[in-house]
Structures are given as C-alpha cells and as structure tokens.
C-alpha cells in the first residue's frame, strides 16, 4: 500500500492503474477510521480493482467555533486499518498543498444545500464539502467514489453536483453502520462520556419512532416532528440542532409524506454534534 501526499504523484498513480485497464475507486474520509469507513472500503472493492482512501481533515467545511483543531487525527492507526483491508493507496495531502492562501474558486449548490446542515452549521459547510470533493475527484480521477448514507444531505448534494457538472465519476451509496444498540458509527462518538453515550441513542430511537408512526399510517409531518421533539426532550444531555422531513429529491421541507422523504436530524449530545437520517415511505 502506498501513502501519497503529492498531488501530481497521486494523479500519476491513478493513471498508471487505468492504463492497465483497472477501475479505480475513491473513498474520501477525514480519517480516524471506524467500521463505518471500512464498510465503504468493502463497497469500493466490490466495484473496482484498486481502492484509494483519502484522509484529509478539510478546513473549509468547518465553521468558526467548530471542532477543526480538535478533530481526531491518527494516520498510523488509519494506515494499518487500510492496509489490513487491502487498500491500494492512501492520499494524505498537507492542508497547505490543498489550499493556496489566495484560493478563490469554489463549487457550491443553491437548492439542496440550503436547509438542515446547510442552515444549522456555521460558515459555508457544503461549499467546503463540494469544493474539496471536486478537488479530490480532479486529483485522484477515480472511476467511482463511495459516500456514506449517514451523511444523507451530503450524499444527495454530491450526486447532484456530479450530475449538474457532468463529473465522470459514479457515486456509490454506503449504508449506515450502527453499533449493536443502534447508534450510527461516527468519529465524533469518541467525544461522548458514558452517560452521553447512552443518551445518544435518542437519535436512532427518533428515526424508529417516526418509521413506526408512518407504518401505522401517519403522514402528517408536523405530528411526526412533534413526536420526535417530545422524545428527545426527555434526554437532559441532548439538544436538538434540527429535525426536518424533506422531499428525498429536492431536500425541501414537506407537509405530508406522499413520495419518498428523508427524515434527518442533528442533535448535540455533550460536545458531540451527531447526525442521523432515514428514508420515510408510505
């Protein structure tokens, strides 16, 4: 397994693989890899002969006051995990090689990005995400890339960007991996104390609650959202950042569930801001 930090070297590596007729997959990550990431690597290996994992804590997607500085970084452990999974190359650039001081061009989106994490997070989170993903695509030139369904809005935005900008990359969904009790795997779970870890279950419980109500015939989103607010209100370490039910295509809020919808929520549990989502269909 190669660990590459240079942009030109990364591009050359992919081109050499493609020249021998091999398909190349990219799994973009911010490192501190857990089972969820490894499942994305498994998915990548099913679709391509060669797999790149990029490990880059992208400064432009963190807003003021967010956890950019304190975000976990452990390249040695990440490398060992990638090697054990049969990853072919890690792309691990230095922040100042990715962003020049006078960088001024960017990618953004003006519909799906406006609500949920786009509204709730400080700064211009999705502008940072779409710009770094574009850069990684242009550097790694993968045939396909795998993104986790846990970041539901991000996944849909990236698919929209690929569609609208004709990017020559196929996007593969990686299903959300969960701990035995239902908590979605996330690097940020490591912020949780024991008590907070228990209360963090309120996210998955909220998804299940809403799914059950929908199965029983409830399609009124106000009623579903109130049930979730009431449930999370019982947890004294949990503070709702947002709960939204949106159309699964446009990500615009809806009144009633009539076509596939996404229920997405962000909850602050202690100092961890956790997100989760599920599909709601009648």
């Amino acid at each position: 397994m190669e660990v590459i930090s240079d942009i030109q070297a990364m591009r050359s590596w992919t081109r050499a693989q493609k020249n021998t007729g091999q398909r190349v997959a990219l799994v973009p990550t911010m490192g501190f890899l857990h089972e969820g990431h490894l499942s994305l690597i498994h998915a990548a290996k099913q679709h391509a002969e060669k797999v790149i994992v990029s490990i880059f804590v992208n400064p432009t997607q963190f807003g003021p006051g967010e956890d950019y500085e304190s975000y976990f970084r452990d390249l040695d452990t990440d490398s060992a995990k990638c090697k054990a999974e049969g990853v072919d190359a890690i792309f691990h650039p230095a922040p100042d090689s990715m962003y020049l001081p006078d960088a001024s061009a960017y990618v953004n989106e003006e519909l799906l990005s406006l609500g949920m994490c786009g509204r709730a997070r400080p700064g211009d989170h999705f502008k940072g995400v779409l710009t770094i993903v574009t850069k990684l695509f242009n550097i790694c030139e993968p045939d396909l890339a795998v993104f986790g369904e846990k970041d539901g809005q991000q996944l849909r935005l990236i698919k929209r960007m690929v569609r609208d900008l004709d990017m020559p990359v196929e996007i593969i969904n990686g299903p959300t991996l969960r701990e035995a009790d239902g908590l979605a795997m996330s690097s940020r779970n490591a912020y949780l104390s024991d008590e907070e870890r228990k209360q963090a279950l309120c996210l998955k419980q909220s998804l299940d609650l809403a799914c059950d109500l929908v199965k029983q015939g409830e399609s009124n989103c106000q009623i579903l959202l109130k049930a979730i607010h009431d449930h999370i209100g019982k947890f004294d370490h949990a503070e709702i950042d947002y709960v939204e039910i949106v159309d699964d295509e446009s990500l615009q809020p809806i009144e009633r569930i009539e076509s596939p919808a996404m229920l997405a929520l962000a909850v602050k549990v202690g100092k961890a801001r956790l997100i989760d989502n599920c599909l709601l269909t009648l």
Copy 2:
C-alpha cells in the same frame, strides 16, 4: 471530422483518442467562428494531436436583456471552417441536454470575478462561464484547452479555477487577433453599422494611448484612465461600460503601475458591447 452532440459519445471519443496515446485539445467557443477562433485552433494543433471545438451558446452566461436569443448561430459555416482547419471533432450539444430544469450545482469565484465584466454585466456572468467550462472539461476531458486573451478577465479566471480546483487541464493563451485597422476580432463586430465600425476603433486607440503614456513614464492610473475617458468621449456612438486598470494577478484595481497590470475596457458601440485589453508594464 465528427460532429457530436451526445455527452457520453463525446467522452467516449476523447477516451478512444487518449487510449492510443494521443493528446486532446479543446477550443471552447460559442460558434460564429472568425479568424480569431481559427488562431485558437492553430494553437491547439501545436500542442495536441487531436482537436475538439465545442460550439455552444451558453445561456447561463447571458444576463437579462443581453443578446442570448439574437447571438449568431451558423453551424454549417462553422463546421466547414473547422473541417478546413483540420479539427477532429465538433461538440455541439443541445441546451436542454446541458442544463436540466432543476440544475442547482455550480462553480464560481470570489475575487477575480468581482470587478469589470463581473460587475458590469447583468446576472452572474462568470458563474455561468466557469460552470459551463467545468462541464465542458468534464465531458470532453481534454489534456489542454485554449482561451483567447481578448477575454482577459475570463482567461485569468479560468486559470484560477483550474489551479484552485486542481483540474487536470493545461490552459493555453491565444493572442488577440485584430483587423488591419486594429479592431479586435469578435463575433459581435457583426452588429456594427459602417459608422459604428469606424467608431469601434476607439477601444484599440485607448489601449495604444495608455501604452504610449506608460512608455513615457506615466504610472498614475487616474491620469491614464482620464486620458481614455477623454478620448472615448469624442466618439458620439461609443458609450463606456467600464475602463479599469487592475493588478494582473488579483484583478484588483490599482493606483499606480508598479507590477504587471491589465488595462481592460468594455464599450457599447451601437448595440454591440465590445471588450478589449492589454498588459501595462513600466
């Protein structure tokens, strides 16, 4: 020479060329080709074995009230010219295959794009330009692309975008071609009446005037700009849209010429809005 309108077919064409080791150049145009375009094609042929000319009047770079509908379109004549120049493929997509009704992702820039044509043209001109150029790059996957120096701000913006987004495309400058009397070649010159055609010379005369003053030691931009305003003021069919002297890297207005600067101007002559520019160095 092939004329291709389908996005997938265009991408396949380029990949087939690259698979045989040939370099592919793209010359993006809005059609109605003149000698200036043909010189860009010549430049492309010097750098690559295969040349694509894209012909697409891009709706998103025209603002309300601009000449999108009336812009000249003549694919048959353009095709004949391309064939005579030894072009290998024309990419000529339909507008509705390039933009879906709910397209929402885009590329933009937040420094070099703010002044000059970015301020003067209605709508979000450079957002449209950068988005379509990104799409053409992603579809045609060229090794290099040629852009004319006549669109000075556009050329610099595209180079900035390629740098900041790590696009795997080399950008080549095509020098401005001029008529015998100095008028920069442009499809929009066809809008000019005989009298307007004479008065359109005020653009190149203004560039020459400023270059002469700088050669004589004048570095104060206010004095240079006043001389240009005074000169163009003598032409009754010419109306200044903007005249700016900017740093050649950042495109920010400067007070004195101390490092390479770009003098750029846009002048309305009759219903034609004409632009021109030159480099000013002490």
